[in-house]
Every structure is written in structure tokens, then in C-alpha cells.
Symmetry: C2
Subunit: 394 residues, 2 copies
């Protein structure tokens, strides 16, 4: 197994009505002025934003608000947030939303705390952030795991580049309020797309082509089984508290580092391939991952069929045997069947994209940083490989 | 499931040679003077202490040392540490050792940071600590999980009272250096006693008589299987790196709060029953727990045989059926068989204690705080119950 560092300092407050602790938690942080950052309609319509504002006011916490974060959050909104925070002397960021809002907060936090450079440089990885404004989260969708994670992903409209930035400590939220009831009203497509994202955060770390750690493997397999079981329940019972709660806690655990202990950094090829789709065509992240995964898996599994066979046996209870290839393929099939059962796409066309070979070439060209990098560790993929996977996923 | 809070902010540095990062980590903490706290012979004999001291000196970190912590760490040593830290203006505590040394550090940290009262009051729970000196850990035995936990246990020689204190945030170590190789030279009895302690930290949280969380159950079951599998390997191969590593990480995960998410606070009756043994007869904590557990389990399982049957099926692969009682008893038997297989006691006599009824009555009298409290939640136990369990364990 690999040496590792595990650092997940976010204080998680989990359960019913926990969002009503927001004001008190912020007060305890001793902040001067908070920016409440949120998305669009749903936080307003549901009354959540009003409830949070009232809660802060009652606790005597000064705040301003900035809405309008969209899925695949934009750099322009980040810049707007940075300017606003500077003008208004904001010293704490409160994300009320899901991964997009939290990621937008993280980028704003970097921008405000590092005035010596432009924030996009952290996503181009030409500079490293030295600080970040503290962040708190009231989560409204279980998916990205950004509420405990060390990373964020932003889309630059100039060229529609979707790029990530990570730092082991700076941007991890100080607290995350996880109230499963806040996710009851999500559209089914978003709920299930979130479930795929959660699975992928575990699978990216699980499918590495090196010795792993037993304890991490079995925690990861447990997490995947829990997500699969409860994602199916939520197809029929969106108001099932226990299923919502299992999924919500799985989201945080899948991406806080726990599922990567001893396994190295993870593969992340599917995420990179999806980022190009998200950047260019603005698809839902989890749905984009579902559309790509099977093609990626069939393209790479021969590097280590035994690993895929272990996955098949321990996640889907597929009887294993000596024929690792057969079991591996049955496992890939089972995951795709699961995606179908929760009405997630298993191809780009099911995702709503009809792409020409030229368009696919352009995706691979961008994903390979103009043919200058490879992605993935289970099998290292160059531009040609990426192209083949996109083509197979059509 | 229950609402919960999860907060495990300790930075874990896991792997080979990681103890050589101690100086740099302390330097980064910006401390003025460190107390290196340790046990006895083994840290000196192995050369570890010398290596750590050299490492700190090279990093330019000022330090003093205090050794002599014993298993079931004593209040007198804690008081000695508090005096020393005050005299020498120590502002950071470095534990080089296992649970006893870490717990002694935590108590010293409370004592120094709360000069307004006597430190024992925090263990009597008549006062609540408001602060704690920051603590770092170089771990030398996988067992107590104190390197990530919120609690510590100290024995007061005046009356031989062994009492715990916990606080969700104050005493959790800032960092924990986990190098599995540092545990190679442990005597087998200590290694295996540690494995029982790890299992018990998960079992105490697992055996609650209320609705739990699927994801927590399956993580707990995974942890238990990993510990059982690798504890057996270590009987024959004490220098097996992977087995040492699995056990070491299991120790931290079993007691950092993860295995209690959504299940309420846990039962802890076995720990309370063992604390009286440890306080009065100075037995190894894990061995004491092994000697008690079976008798506790047989005394309480009828409250919820289905839970014990789930344990039997998922941890020991015992085929389940409708007859929960039968499966439950088979699971208890399987755990006792496992204890025997790693040469751990399953009775007080095997632990080396031959106790009269009068002595057992005295244990129960102390454990029930002179017949004024009950312990446990799976089944609430009063003084009479405790007496019966001790008697059954003879």
C-alpha cells in the first residue's frame, strides 16, 4: 500500500433541522461579515434562503448575499464574488447549495485571500494559493462531496475550460450542515445524477493499478453498495428520510479522502473526460460521468482484470471464479444496468449529445491539453486513447 | 437513525519513516517549547526517543522530556507533567507512545490550560474543560485510538479510580504520525490486546439497541473483519508491514467517531466494567475487555437478538436464518473463539484474576458509583446486573 496523509477537519452537523444552527455556528467562528452565496430559484422558492437569513440575523451575524451560481459554476461569478467581498469586507463565506455553490465559494475564498495574483492561475496550476477565506456550508444536494473535500472546479467562459484546483488544507470547509430533508424537493434527475457522482468519487480512487489497502477497499465497497441500494429507493420514494441520509453521508465520505487512504491519488480519468463535456456542453456532472464510465472501463479493464473482478464480486455479488475477464465484464455490465435502472445515460447520445468525429477530436484535444498530457493511472491515456473512449461512448 | 456530529480534525501522516517529519510538523505549528512525553524502557531501548529528539533539534524545535508513563496512566504523573509544563513554559505536547502516553498528554494539556480548577474534576465530571494545550502524536502501538479521539482515561491512585473525560474538540491531537514499523517490536500479548481494544471501540458503538445507519454498520463490519483477519496474521508474522498497517489505521478509524455516526453514543458498558478491573488490578485494557465481553454479550443479547445475528452474519459469515437467537449465540461464540485464537482471555481467571464474591461485589459497587448509576444502552445495567456479569466472567 502507499503512504498517505488524511486530513478532514470539517465539523459535520448531521440531521433534521440542523440548518437552524447556522447562525450560532457562524457566531462561534467570530466572523465580522458573512457572504451568503447561493444558486438560483430553488433556494428562494423553498424558503430556505429566507430561513437562513433570519437565523443569522437572530444570532446577530452581519451578512450580505450573492446568488446566481449555475451548475458548472462560472469564473465570471467568482470574480463578481471576489469584488463584492473586498468592497464589503467579508471575512466568512457561507455556501447555501450544492457542489457548484461550494466550489464557487472556494474560488472566491482563494481570490480574496490571495490578492497577489489572479484566481484563475490556481486552476491553470501556474500558481499555488497560500490562504483561503473560511467557508461554511448548508448542503442542499448530495453529490459533489465538496462540503468536506480539498478541491473545487470552475468553468472559464473564455474558451469554456472546466478546471479543478486542490489544496490539502486551505479550502476545506470549517463546518458542513447536512440536513437530508433539504434534499427532498430535488428533481429526480438531479438526485440520481448526484448518486452517480458519489459512486464515481469512490470508483476513481478504487480503480488504481497498484496494491491497495484492505480496509479502504472494504469501506469503499460498502459505500458503493449503500449508494446503489438507496439510489434505487429514491427513484420511488424521494421523501424517504433514511435513504436521503445514507446518500448524503456517503457523498461526504466518498470525497473527503477516506476512500483513497493507502491507494495513492486515484485515477480521475473519467472526471477529466467529463470535465470537457461539462465545460463545452454544460451537462449535469453525474450524468456525464455515467455516460462515459462504461466505455472507459471496457477500454482499460484488461490492465488488471482481477481488480474489476473484485469490484464485481464485492459490490454486485457476482460469483467470482478464475476467469477474471468474464467476471470483470459482468461487473461493468452490472454498473451500467444500475445506471439504466436509475434513468442515467450510459452513452453520449443518451446524454443528449450527438457529436461528430470532429467534435470528439476537439474534446480529446482539449482534455489532453493540446496533446501535451496523459490522464489516468489505471491505464495512462493519451489523446488518441481519449478519442477512442469518447467514440466508444457515442 | 440518530442525528450526529462528526469532527475528526487530526492530520494523519501514515507510512514508513513518517516519524522523521515530526520536527517539521512541530515547526509548522509555531510552538515555543515542546514537552516530549513517553513511557518507559521501550522508547529508549529502541532508539526511537533519541531519533525523535535529534529530529526536533535539527528542525530547531526546543524541547524537554518527561518519561515514566505506565499502562493505566496515573494522575500523579499527570500532576508532575502539569507542574513541569508551567515551570518550563511548554506550549505543545508531543506524545511518543500509545494510548497511555497520549491520554496522559491530554490530561496534562487540560491541567495546564485550565488553571482555574483541579484537573481531576474533569474526570469526576464536576467541571468542564475550556481549553487544552495542543498535542501531537508519534504512535507506537495500535490500540486505544486516542491519536484521533476526543477522550482520555486516567487512573487516580487515591482509591484506584479509573475515569474518563471527553470533549468533542479540545483534546483531539493536531497531528498523528502513524508509522506501522514502529509497532514491529511489540510483545505479542500487547499487539493482540491492542486488536481487542480496536474491535471493542467499534463494537461498543455497534451494539446499540436503536435504529442505526446502514453505511455506518457496513463500515463497522468491514473494520471488524479487517482487524480479525490481520490480528491472526500478526500471531505468526509480527513483521508483516501490511498487517501492521491495516491494524494501525483500523485503530484510528474505530475511535475517531466514524463508527458511531447515526447510531447514538454507543453502549460502553464493557469499557466501564473493564475500567474497574484496570483501576484495581492493573490488567492490560484489551485483555480485560476480552475477558468480559462474552459474559456481557450473553447477558444482554436477548434485548435484540436480531442485532447480534446481523453481527454474526456480516462479521463471521455465519449463515443467518429466522432463528436470530441461535445465530446470535453462534456469533458470540465465534468472537470468543477468535479471542482464544489470538491467545486473549475469555474469562477473569484466564486474565489471571481469581476473585471472591466479595471482591466482585466491590467491583460492581465501584462501577455503579456506589449503586447510584446504571451503565450501557443495549441493556441498561444496574449494580446487580454488573455483579452478575462479573460473576459469569469468573
Amino acid at each position: 500500500m502507499r503512504d498517505f496523509e488524511y486530513y478532514a477537519p470539517t465539523r459535520v452537523i448531521f440531521g433534521k433541522d440542523t440548518h437552524l444552527q447556522t447562525g450560532a455556528l457562524l457566531k462561534a467562528q467570530g466572523c465580522h461579515r458573512v457572504l451568503i452565496h447561493y444558486g438560483g430559484e430553488s433556494a428562494l422558492r423553498s424558503g430556505l434562503l429566507k430561513e437562513i437569513c433570519r437565523n443569522l440575523a437572530e444570532a446577530g451575524v452581519e451578512y450580505i448575499t450573492l446568488g446566481g451560481v449555475v451548475p458548472n459554476p462560472r469564473l465570471s461569478k467568482v470574480r463578481e464574488g471576489i469584488d463584492l467581498c473586498r468592497r464589503e469586507n467579508v471575512d466568512f463565506l457561507l455556501a447555501v447549495g450544492g457542489g457548484s455553490v461550494i466550489d464557487s465559494c472556494k474560488a472566491i475564498g482563494y481570490g480574496v485571500a490571495n490578492p497577489w495574483t489572479d484566481v484563475w492561475n490556481f486552476f491553470l496550476k501556474t500558481e499555488t494559493p497560500r490562504a483561503c477565506l473560511p467557508i461554511g456550508v448548508v448542503l442542499t444536494i448530495a453529490a459533489a462531496g465538496s462540503e468536506m473535500s480539498d478541491s473545487c472546479v470552475i468553468t472559464n467562459e473564455d474558451g469554456w475550460l472546466k478546471r479543478g484546483s486542490s489544496h490539502n488544507s486551505l479550502c476545506r470547509p470549517k463546518f458542513a450542515i447536512l440536513n437530508p430533508r433539504l434534499t427532498y424537493t430535488l428533481p429526480r434527475y438531479q438526485t440520481e445524477s448526484g448518486c452517480v457522482d458519489i459512486l464515481m468519487h469512490t470508483m476513481e480512487r478504487y480503480f488504481v493499478n497498484s496494491e491497495t489497502m484492505e480496509i479502504t477497499d472494504s469501506i469503499s465497497e460498502s459505500l458503493m453498495q449503500t449508494v446503489i441500494y438507496n439510489a434505487r429507493i429514491l427513484m420511488k420514494e424521494p421523501g424517504n428520510y433514511n435513504a436521503r441520509a445514507e446518500i448524503m453521508w456517503a457523498a461526504s465520505l466518498s470525497h473527503n479522502g477516506l476512500t483513497g487512504c493507502g491507494t495513492g491519488g486515484g485515477d480521475w480519468a473519467c472526471h477529466q473526460l467529463e470535465h470537457e463535456l461539462g465545460g463545452a456542453y454544460d451537462v449535469a456532472h453525474g450524468a456525464g460521468l455515467a455516460a462515459i464510465w462504461g466505455s472507459w472501463a471496457r477500454y482499460v479493464y484488461r490492465e488488471n482484470p482481477e481488480r474489476f473482478a473484485q469490484f464485481a464480486a464485492n459490490v454486485f455479488d457476482i460469483p467470482g471464479g478464475r476467469d477474471f475477464e468474464k467476471t470483470a465484464l459482468a461487473g461493468i455490465q452490472a454498473m451500467e444496468d444500475f445506471f439504466r435502472s436509475i434513468e442515467m445515460p450510459v452513452s453520449l447520445s443518451q446524454l443528449g449529445l450527438t457529436l461528430s468525429e470532429e467534435e470528439i477530436h476537439r474534446l480529446a484535444f482539449k482534455c489532453s491539453f493540446e496533446d501535451t498530457r496523459t490522464i489516468g493511472v489505471f491505464k495512462q491515456l493519451n489523446m488518441k486513447d481519449m478519442e477512442k473512449i469518447y467514440l466508444a461512448a457515442r
